[in-house]
Symmetry: C2
Subunit: 216 residues, 2 copies
DNA sequence: TAGATTGTTAATCGATTAACAATC
DNA sequence: TAGATTGTTAATCGATTAACAATC
């Protein structure tokens, strides 16, 4: 769908937020919105919104604005929310478990089709209606189901080897919650690192260096 | 500590990653590193690293490079890892629970001092050695302990009101995992939104639009 | 038609990269 | 001293904002 040039990462990162806000507007029963109004709500500039959207096409109408639900579904299809890419979750500990039950995968264009763990006490247990599978059976499973996305909720030490294994099995994208910083040679692999520690540290920087603190 | 000018957000976001990589180097027993070597490992440019670090001071030595553990501890203190800011966690459901046990708060300059939930079946249960407290007692607790950070693992609907309440109680920063997009009038409040859905959608965009897919 | 608002081009701003003098 | 590598200034690049003609 992209018009012609490569879409910048900054634009891509804003798309999910547009999608969310348009969903809310839709729920509020608002059918039409101008770039100016949307900018106000999202604390962006109208210019930026128009620039962003025009990377993908002219979704608006001069003199009128944008049709909320139409624009939302356009952005949705750009993001691929209706693709239902198959995903496996590796690591069903606290975080993995929470991700499995907390994230509505269908809503985000994914289908969670397998949950794995290496701890034999977890294997066989059921979460979100799925039996946890022994990670030893990962290869077998992937050959059969061909997942394209792997969600890593595993210790740092296990990550490098697992990444390589999964790439060998045809996985194209990683949603990485491990403390390992995926930085692969393979340049066709898509990585979304979620470093919660980094996020907390950035917040902590803000708190530690905020203006409302006395100089020390 | 900042030299004189305001530090850009892009720089701040890279600091935790520097901190992490330097920690790893330290563990590997590497004492000295040049900006060129570090850049290679982190997939950055040497220029950028030197620029970033020089926002805060000259931590290197010409002709030699940087002392790994020294630089790490400098960045650590810039990030405030030894500050131990008090934090409350609101919402001890799947995600809140996982955050509580998964994140080593001390390591990131925080101290988790209270966990709250509104579900009476959870109240009184213990996680990470702390009894879950009824959210009705949040005000009382905050007046006594004066936490500066609130971690929100609550439904979107509960977020706006809770934010206001917490700000009234002196909370200065939010680590926000709720689907509510904190976008406050209060401009001295620090917000770190962690929108896992947005993150997954960005990944999904990549998978849906990757080059190794056939045109459709 | 007049008014509004887009799509798009041009101007500005900020961040990244390159270059190099300073210096260990 | 010679070699290496920083700190810092200048050049480049890209992203954001402003402006405005096109058009509904």
């Amino acid at each position: 769908m992209p018009k012609n040039e490569k879409i910048s990462n900054s634009v891509i990162r804003r798309l999910p937020r547009y999608y969310r806000f348009l969903g809310e507007l839709s729920k509020e029963g608002i059918n039409k919105i101008s770039s100016r109004e949307l900018a106000e709500r999202m604390r962006l500039t109208a210019s930026q919104i128009r620039q962003d959207l025009n990377c993908f096409g002219g979704f608006g109408q001069q003199g009128y604005g944008y049709n909320v639900s139409e624009l939302r579904s356009e952005i949705g299809s750009i993001l691929g929310v209706d693709k239902q890419h198959k995903a496996v979750l590796i690591g069903a500990g606290n975080l993995g478990h929470a991700i499995a039950v907390h994230i509505n995968f269908e809503k985000y264009g994914c289908k969670l089709c397998g949950i794995f763990d290496s701890d034999e006490r977890m294997v066989g247990q059921t979460i979100v209606g799925q039996k946890i599978i022994d990670v030893d059976r990962l290869s077998e499973f992937c050959r059969q189901h061909q997942p394209r996305i792997a969600i890593l909720c595993i210790p740092k030490s296990a990550a490098p080897q697992l990444c390589e294994q999964l790439i060998g099995l045809g996985v194209k994208a990683f949603w990485n919650f491990s403390h390992y910083d995926i930085n692969l040679e393979h340049n066709d692999i898509i990585v979304e690192n979620v470093h919660l520690g980094d996020s907390l540290l950035a917040l902590n920087y803000g708190v530690s260096n905020s203006a409302n603190k006395t100089e020390e």
